[in-house]
Amino acid sequence: MNALAILLIPLAAAAVLAVISDYRLSARINVIACLLSLLASASLFWWRPTSGQYLLIDDLNVVFIVLTNFVAFTTSAFSASYIAHELETGRLTPTYLRFYHAMYQLMLFGMNLALSANNIGLMWVAVELATLTTVVMVGIYRTHEAIEAAWKYFILGSVGIALALFGTILVYLAARPVMGEGTDAMVWTELLRHAGAFDPSLLNVAFIFLLLGYGTKVGLAPLHAWLPDAHAEGPTPISAVLSGLLLNVALYALLRFKMLLAVNVGAIAPGPLMIALGLLSVIFAGFMLYRRRDIKRLFAYSSIEHMGIIVFAFGMAGPIGNFAGLLQMTMHSLTKSAIFFSVGHVAQVKGTQRIADIGGLTESHPVLGWGLIAGVAAIAGLPPFGVFQSEFLVVSSTFARAPVLAVLLAFGLLVSFGALMLRVSAVAFGAPRGPVGPVEASYVPMFAHLALVLVAGVYLPAPLVAWFQHVAALLG
């Protein structure tokens, strides 16, 4: 029931928002709808429906669903204050806003569906839906850059999605001899049960396609090309959602298939592939961070880096590796969206996203500035924030098993750390550059996220830990 609610609420909200023209009202409705679906998703902890042919709620995806709905909720609250300014500056018109809100809910629907789908075909459709909605929202400003970014995102995403579908079909093919035709051969729970008997070599090929297909969505190098521009040119709430959520959704799909391969003994271990792509992404993104001129693109690259870390962690697997991966993923969602909240306001008040034109934030806008510093410190893996814990676990646990990998990872971390600190100290310190007018911003979402990350770094509640450990065990 509540599983349906997280799907129906956004769908209904999308329908309603499509017809409401007053943007204040629609923004409010947007927030309320997100809140409702958040509550519905939270209720999944206590009251969980039995998995059917199409929908599945298990320990793994509950984590993702709740996280998704939470960030979606805070982001909607942030966007309510964000778009008002966009209207003033005339970058958006009410008609587009109507569109925007509807799309927002539609995207939430798509992500929830993708997360709760028990059918790999359905999941694929849902991911595509979410992608399309974000494509539209990335292009919503309709500047040269926005359109180009959306186009790039769209083409690359479509190719990725196509590859993913091919992989899905191969999985079905692998399953069919064992499980016969029909829907069962695409249902998670069933697949998982019989995966041991599948033809491993076919699974391998399938996983390659899935890795590249969904990996494009995750933003792993060298499939990352769409990600920085899409983050940089779209509205900031969308950047927050992209980094915080959509990447996770694709990652989730990848994890599902990894579980499948993990069950099958004969199949190629997915670990090495994921580790390789992860390391590549971390180091590549680390270097790319240095020459970024656009602040949102900067953090987009840091998202690539973190996705690399997460995929690396899951590739290392093992209880610690998976735990670290889950933790890192959660922390990254919260932190990165918080950063984008503050960056969004900064870009609004300064009227630019060029790092060179922004300076002395801690003096001109102390709250934003220090918030940004805290966020960057968190994302760079400085204590006492949560990212530090997961990176601690990844690096230290890796070093004992594969020293070279750990050293490479540490190298990538250090490189990107340097870039982030360099940029943030340029932006936050020195004499103020650009307009210093007051900013009407809602700091609540940003500091809510940061507070959560801070607490997580020092103290993780036991139930959550048990939960993560259980999920980590599931991931094998």
Partner: protein, 246 residues
């Protein structure tokens, strides 16, 4: 709507028996040959696409591609008695073989795109690469699909080559229309695979979803006001506005 639940396949054992039966029954004889022929035809048409250097003719070949796909899909529908596949075939025929090509032609006309296709590497090299790709897909697919029944096996292998060829077109062609065409052929290959994997549910939904995707792309070329902003649909023109302007 989902995979049509078939009457009378309840238990595992029963399914296995049925599968085995089908395999033996279909693997020889006309149905297999026709299916194989059609799939092979699709690959052939893809290679023809590689060969084209005029937009209009490329679009025509695309239409042909779609027609062949439609035939093959309907043949699958026929031999496996899966009528819902006819929908897919219909979509292929109506949407991809007629509407899209017409739309593309009008677009080429309206936007005044010059008719030659600028290729990155020479046609000959592209062809060679295409052949190599076909070989690769065979090399990859045939060994791994031993358990699968022959039709699906051939189909999957050929479908993979169609997919790779589509990608190759996208990669080696400079202008957007031909890239769209490449993407469509890629997607045709996936449809082929989906229908070839018999009994696969959601095939129709997926083909619909894909059609939506393509429609988006085509409409996108219109609606991104590309004619207003840029005087050509060459993505090269977009590169002036790429990432961070220096």
């Amino acid at each position: 709507m989902g995979g049509r639940p078939k009457p009378g396949h309840d238990t595992e054992a029963d399914r296995h028996a049925r599968v085995g039966l089908e395999t033996t029954m279909i693997s020889h004889g006309l149905s297999f040959d026709v299916a194989h022929m059609l799939a092979g035809g699709l690959v052939l048409v893809s290679l023809m696409m590689l060969y084209q250097d005029r937009l209009y003719s490329l679009i025509n070949v695309l239409a042909l591609h779609a027609v062949v796909l439609a035939l093959s899909v309907s043949w699958q529908a026929y031999i496996h008695a899966e009528p819902h596949l006819y929908i897919t075939a219909a979509i292929a025929l109506g949407f991809k073989a007629i509407i899209i090509p017409v739309a593309l032609k009008r677009m080429v006309f309206r936007l005044g795109i010059h008719r030659e296709i600028e290729t990155v590497v020479s046609i000959g090299l592209t062809m060679l690469a295409g052949i190599a790709l076909v070989g690769l897909s065979m090399e990859v697919m045939l060994p791994v699909t031993a358990k699968v029944d022959p039709v699906a096996r051939e189909d999957i292998a050929l479908a993979l080559s169609v997919v790779l060829l589509g990608l190759l077109i996208m990669v080696t062609r400079r202008n957007a229309v031909s890239q769209v065409i490449g993407f469509m052929s890629l997607e045709n290959g996936i449809n082929l695979a989906a229908t070839g994997a018999q009994g696969m549910p959601l095939v129709v939904e997926i083909s619909v979803a894909f059609s939506v995707l393509i429609a988006f792309i085509v409409i996108g070329i219109f609606l991104f006001r590309i004619r207003e902003r840029f005087d050509t649909v060459d993505l090269g023109a977009l590169d002036a506005f790429r990432g961070e302007r220096q």
